[in-house]
């Protein structure tokens, strides 16, 4: 859990709301907030990224870590399901690059400014994004030899 003054500072500066294990940010202020977390608030390490589909929207969660304070902060961003696109963090935290490719692969969320937006786990010719709720289990049969 982040310190209350950090959550309050993020609320004042970037419009963040408290969320489980961290804050929820508007998509427009994600890049600026992550730069501030890295440079000002001590969250210098990137841990992981994950995504989920809930109530017809995607939610992307980035986890960053402050090693000195022994704290992991989850930053959540909600995006619309159709044509989902959010800013890439690959040039803020280099470790985010492959995690964002995984989300692109499995959820189909586009990352604006990503240096290498290709699939990372599934074959390049795969059609569809299997962790979306509307993905049918019959879909990949066409790929089976």
């Amino acid at each position: 859990m982040p310190a209350p003054e950090i959550v309050e500072a993020l609320r004042v500066r970037f419009g963040a709301e408290p969320a489980p294990l961290g804050v929820s940010l508007p998509a427009a202020s994600l890049l600026a907030a992550m730069r501030a977390l890295r440079d000002t608030y001590g969250y210098r390490s990137y841990v992981t990224a994950t995504a989920l589909e809930r109530d017809g929207r995607f939610e992307v969660a980035h986890a960053v870590r402050d090693v000195e304070m022994n704290d992991t902060l989850f930053v959540r961003v909600r995006v619309q399901r159709d044509g989902a696109e959010i800013d890439s963090l690959a040039f803020v935290y280099a470790g985010a690059e492959w995690h964002e490719r995984e989300i692109l692969d499995l959820f189909g969320i586009a990352f604006r400014g990503h240096p290498d937006p290709r699939r990372i786990l599934l074959p390049d010719e795969y059609v569809g994004h299997p962790l979306r709720k509307d993905f049918a289990i019959e879909t990949p049969w066409g790929y089976r030899p």
Partner: protein
């Protein structure tokens, strides 16, 4: 002799190992001997006595396969020696879950092996996909990709089970009805 004693917990090697068991006539004399047998039987005997596997560890089954080839079970004594390249291999051991991304690679390596060649499918995932059967990235059984001669059941199979699968393949080779081979 020592090899006549049963080893507790380990499968016995199949019959047909000794030349006397497959030859129609063996004449031994000091310093050598002469065996009379069909050429087919000799070739099959040679093939099953030096099965060189191309290992293809894809998941946790590979750990059991490594254990089988290590000193405790020691497949070298049956002429089974690992090869790192398909060009030198006779049998491909598919050990683990086959994904749709890996399937073309398996096919390529199988095509690079020289005839005669065999395939052992090791473990439930390679046999049928098992509980990953309907996962979006998994091939439901390696026999969708390449022909399989022996299926070894288990999740993962014990080293004894893999050894029994290799012996079953040796018995198949000795029976000799191998149209592909």
């Amino acid at each position: 002799m020592a090899e006549d004693l049963p080893v507790v917990g380990q499968p016995r090697p199949p019959a047909g190992t000794a030349l006397e068991e497959i030859a129609e006539e063996v004449v031994r004399f000091p310093g050598g001997g002469v065996a009379l047998l069909r050429a087919d039987a000799l070739f099959h005997w040679a093939q099953k006595s030096s099965l060189w596997p191309l290992t293809f560890g894809l998941a946790c089954c590979a750990i059991e396969m490594m254990a089988t080839f290590a000193g405790r079970f020691d497949l070298d004594r049956f002429g089974v020696i690992l090869r790192p390249t398909p060009r030198q291999a006779d049998v491909m051991i598919i050990a683990g879950t086959v994904t749709i991304k890996m399937a073309p690679r398996i096919r390529t390596l199988y095509d690079q092996m020289a005839h005669p060649k065999w395939v052992i499918s090791m473990g439930s995932c390679a046999n049928s996909g098992d509980h990953y059967r309907n996962v979006y990235s998994v091939v439901p059984g390696v026999d969708h990709v390449i022909p399989v001669d022996v299926y070894v059941a288990g999740c993962p199979p014990t080293p004894e089970a893999l050894m029994e699968g290799i012996f079953a393949l040796q018995r198949q080779i000795m029976e000799g009805d191998r149209a592909r081979a």
